[in-house]
Amino acid sequence: MIPLVKLLEAALFASPRPIPVEELSVLAPDASPAEVASALDTLREHYDVDGHGVELAELGGGWQILTRAEYTEAIERAQLAARPQRLSAAALETLAIIAYRQPIGRTEVEEIRGVAVGSILKSLQERALIDVVGRAEGLGRPLLYGTTSLFLEQFALRHLEELPRADELAIALRPAPQPL
């Protein structure tokens, strides 16, 4: 492997969070973005082709070394690491609405889900999956919520556009009427 690949591997190993390409470029100021991109490709191929227990994944706006899924159970059984808890159906519904309609206020989420979501918004915010991204115009200037980079990371998404567009879903909707 060329030195740049090894350098990137070391940096990715040291970081617990995905590293964006721009930050990887800082590591090697002499390397062009194309060289960094191709080094990442080399590293990914190296893991995939030579048969490693880890892989290089692109998610949450960056790159990250992850263990391969087939070893998860063994690792968890040995209590070396634990999978994070699954979100509840209610939390997932709320998150799905925010992901598609952001920036969105609480009342609009409640309008779609048909239930109150105040406490769910709070816990999603505590888990840093959503955040306040602004305030709506109008009465009371309600808070508007949007998803965070941790959301992308935890749902293995490179970016929001990776979610299917609304009209690509099986039940394509007529354009939603403007909320009051």
């Binding site: 892989e55 998610l59 999978r83 994070p84 799905a96 749902f155 939603a176």
Partner: protein
């Protein structure tokens, strides 16, 4: 009997459906009394209590179970089933479920209103509900995607899992063995010998107290608390006597009365005939 959609004769009116406990019976055992339900939609069913994420979730699964067209919902039938389910699931006090139930009944009433001329522009009162249901269903589809992607990520470990709050992890302290030992030594020198209390267990003598009371009552038939417990009695003696008296009273051998608070307890032999 026509289909529930346009049936003007619905004897149940807007009230709770009759036989709301029907879901607890075996399938097929329920009766179809006065039900305008379509024959392919069975009135009775057994609910195995799935957790619904909300009233729309419940309504949607109802529509799926009853195999009705979402664009042409037989509103009277569905409203009835909805009420049935929230009662069976004991969701009666969940405001959101009741709100949707009320909405369904209102739509049902609007459907029953006479229309002037068939060709006139008439807005289907179900339109808004259908729009919300479709929107909700679409969102459920996204939930499925998120669930799948979330599992994909959950099943792979990063080198170290960060706490979800996103707090930065403090760097490990640089500490030499010598410093550690000095610290331990300092702490040990400062720490005083712990004060040790010796607790002597005094066993209660309930059996002895019972014998004492029985003996006294047999001779005098009545007695007072103060006869048995001296002013300077030890706690274990007081407790033994208290437990003895309660035990004897429970067994019906004597009766305990206290004329007023803090007065001495009067103990009376209880003759079996008197006990009622």
């Amino acid at each position: 009997m026509s289909h529930g959609l346009s049936a003007p004769v619905d004897t149940d009116g807007a009230g709770m459906p009759d036989g709301a406990d029907i879901g607890l019976r075996a399938p097929g055992a329920g009766t179809a009394e006065g039900s305008p339900a379509a024959p392919e939609a069975p009135v009775s069913f057994v609910v195995d209590l799935p957790a619904y994420a909300g009233p729309l979730d419940l309504l949607l699964s109802l529509i799926r179970d009853e195999k009705v067209d979402i664009y042409d919902i037989p509103i009277a039938h569905i409203a009835k089933q909805f009420l049935l389910r929230i009662r069976v699931l004991q969701l009666n006090d969940a405001a959101e479920y009741l709100e949707l139930a009320a909405r369904l009944l209102r739509i049902k009433a609007q459907m029953l209103l006479p229309r002037h001329g068939e060709t006139e522009t008439w807005e289907d009162p179900r339109a808004e509900l259908v729009r919300r249901l479709l929107e909700y269903q679409q969102m459920r589809e996204v939930v499925d995607i998120l669930e799948r992607r979330g599992d994909e990520r959950r099943n792979r470990f990063a080198r170290a899992y960060l706490p979800e709050s996103g707090e930065t992890v403090a760097a490990p302290l640089a500490l030499s063995l010598g410093e550690l030992l000095t610290a331990v030594d300092r702490i040990l020198r400062v720490t005083k010998e712990p004060t040790v209390h010796t607790v002597v267990a005094r066993t209660l003598d309930v059996a002895g107290a019972i014998a004492m009371v029985r003996h006294a009552i047999a001779a005098r038939r009545t007695a007072r608390w103060s006869d048995f417990v001296a002013r300077d009695a030890e706690p274990w003696q007081i407790l033994s006597m208290l437990l003895a008296l309660l035990e004897l009273a429970k067994q019906g051998e004597l009766r305990l009365t206290q004329p007023r608070p803090f007065a001495s307890v009067e103990i009376e032999h209880d003759t079996p005939g008197e006990a009622a």
